[in-house]
């Protein structure tokens, strides 16, 4: 494909009849301005994060007085004032716990159901699969009031159950896993497993799941990000400060530190840095995942 486009580009330039020097100048100018544009947009993407890190290391009076361009020395003071009131690392640990357990449940049951839809034939399978796809159309907050009241009657308010358990029913995960099973699990492998006397669940655990690992990794990253950023459900379900995940704590930092900007900036830094590290490690996988998902859509 690369060779094709370069051929196309060559023939375009052949058909141009301007003198070569002028053409080269113009080309260089276009290239230059295109790069300037790209760098400018990249700059706007990163600038707020740079500004946040720089600002978090200055005193409140400095923040109020001038534009800060270089890091200061007050980070630890701001940090200490923040953790005196908000148990931010507790929130971090809570988020990690909720996210990991939810992602694990989501991945296991998505793979299991995707496999169940892909490799078995039973009555009503197609209708059930359509029902799964149909649940994707429902906006998330439609049942939120009933959810709240129902969890109250289950005595599950102020616990992690209502946040973690719904991860078992992830319609997009099932759709994604079904497609992966269709394309990358040969039926012969399942038959050979049956001949060797494996049970159906054992076939899934020993033969299918290992083959699905690349898909599990892709879905896992997106499930992880989605759950890490989850905000509305934990905010209404959890009352104790000690139980809240990071986004809810960041929201409470905003309302508690109305004028202590240094402490607020430190809170934001603590929330962004892990995401930044995570992204710089798996950015290739994330970007190819988005692109693959877009092609299917």
């Amino acid at each position: 494909m690369k060779a094709d486009t370069s051929l196309a580009a060559k023939s375009i330039s052949l058909s141009d009849s301007k003198p070569r020097k002028e053409r080269n100048m113009k080309k260089l100018l276009v290239k230059f301005s295109v790069y300037i544009f790209l760098i400018l947009v990249a700059f706007t993407c990163l600038l707020p994060f740079y500004s946040m890190m720089v600002t978090s290391s200055h005193t409140n009076s400095e923040i109020a007085r001038k534009l800060l361009l270089l890091p200061g020395t007050e980070f630890m003071n701001n940090y200490n004032r923040l953790i005196d009131t908000v148990p931010i690392w507790r929130g971090f640990a809570n988020s990690l716990f909720i996210t990991i357990t939810s992602t694990a449940l989501n991945l296991y049951f998505s793979a299991l159901a995707g496999y169940g839809f892909s490799k078995y034939n039973y009555k009503g399978k197609n209708i059930l699969f359509l029902a799964v796809l149909g649940t994707m159309m429902i906006p998330g907050q439609l049942g939120i009031i009933g959810f709240f009241k129902l969890m109250d009657s289950f005595h599950m308010l102020n616990t992690y159950w209502p946040i973690i358990l719904p991860s078992i029913s992830n319609a997009f995960g099932i759709f994604f896993m079904k497609q992966m099973c269709d394309s990358s699990i040969p039926t012969e492998i399942l038959e050979s497993g049956r001949i060797d006397g494996c049970g159906e669940l054992k076939i899934f655990h020993r033969l299918v799941l290992p083959l699905l690992m690349p898909a599990v990794a892709t879905l896992g990253i997106f499930s992880f990000i989605g759950k890490w950023n989850d905000f509305l459900t934990p905010m209404i379900i959890l009352f104790d400060n000690e139980l809240q995940p990071l986004p809810v704590m960041i929201a409470s930092v905003k309302s508690q530190f109305s004028t202590d900007f240094g402490a607020m900036y430190v809170g934001i830094v603590i929330s962004v840095i892990p995401v930044l590290i995570f992204f710089s490690i798996v950015s290739k996988k994330i970007i190819s995942g988005v692109t693959a998902g877009a092609l299917k859509g």
Binding site: F148, K149, G199, Y265, A294
Partner: protein, 294 residues
């Protein structure tokens, strides 16, 4: 031995069962229960009492709700138009073969999309703070303005800022979708155009854009559904002066969980659902019409 029967198909049913059980308990039941609650009066303390359509009748005369619908649509339009134009321009540039560092640019543009929306909301509210925010300091430093602008105190400016946060968060994602669309266009078409001596501009407007139209429409439609449910980031920026940045879902949240009018909140949730449904149907009709035209 029942298990040794040749036909194993019932296992497939057992494997998909956990989804349906969980969805029934945590998805469908709450939705139906919400519908029931929307016909009651319930403040969270005493038991719900049936009041019929009273909540919906109240909703029809609720100026706050109409304002919230308007705000949500305005913010969506303000964010979606520049967002798609920018995403399309960047996708077309990054699809050119001479650009170096493609992965770097893609990664940087996509990064804001995975940062927690709540954090972005707080970050922007601090940056646009009129006394201490870095945006005012920066603009004054450049000499563009003499006095600090009170951004979040003006209805339109605060809407624009909310739209800016949304745009900033989603343009990278849309760009990746468009790049995927561009890469699926057959290279033979470009060769044919080159043989015919088409200019770059002609290639872009006569081949690339028409072929990308389905992808553009798809992005547009899905963005309506997402845009109508705007919540996290605008909540952090507040209701705005005269409730100018109060979105529909923010109104739902504040009615139910701040004012403890749960049953009215349930009615709002259903009204939002119906509005989303109407917009989805309109946009699907619209995209079908486009297909027929082609």
């Amino acid at each position: 031995m029942k298990n040794s029967s040749i036909n194993k198909s019932q296992y497939g049913f057992y494997f998909v069962l956990p989804f349906f059980v969980t969805f029934l308990v945590f998805g469908l039941t709450p939705i139906i229960y919400s519908l029931y609650l929307s016909f009651t009066k319930w403040d969270g303390f005493s038991d719900p009492t049936f009041v019929g359509l009273a909540n919906y009748a109240r909703l029809l005369h609720d100026t706050f709700f109409y304002k919230a619908i308007g705000n949500t649509l305005i913010i969506w339009v303000l964010s979606i138009v520049p967002q798609l134009v920018l995403a399309l321009a960047l996708a077309m540039i990054l699809n050119e073969k001479f650009i170096r560092g493609k992965h770097f640019f893609r990664a940087v543009y996509y990064f804001p999309h995975i940062v927690t929306p709540v954090t972005l909301g707080v970050l922007f509210s601090l940056m646009f703070d009129w006394q201490t925010g870095s945006v005012n300091k920066f603009l004054m430093g450049l000499g563009i303005i003499d006095d600090p602008v009170n951004w979040l105190n003006s209805p339109w400016l605060s809407r624009i800022i909310v739209a800016l946060v949304i745009m900033w968060q989603y343009f990278g994602f849309n760009m990746l979708v468009f790049i995927a669309g561009l890469q699926s266009i057959s290279p033979e078409l470009y060769e044919a155009a080159a043989v015919d001596g088409a200019t770059r501009w002609k290639v872009a407007t006569k081949i690339t854009l028409p072929l990308l139209k389905p992808v553009l429409l798809f992005t547009f439609i899905t963005s309506i559904i997402g845009g109508l449910q705007l919540f996290d980031a605008p909540l952090m920026l507040g209701n705005g002066p005269d409730n100018s940045t109060l979105t529909m879902v923010m109104y739902l949240y504040q009615t139910a969980f701040k004012n403890f009018d749960y049953s009215y909140g349930a009615a709002i949730a259903y009204a939002i659902f119906i509005i989303i449904l109407i917009f989805s149907v309109i946009s699907m009709k619209f995209s079908k019409m486009n297909k027929v035209e082609q």
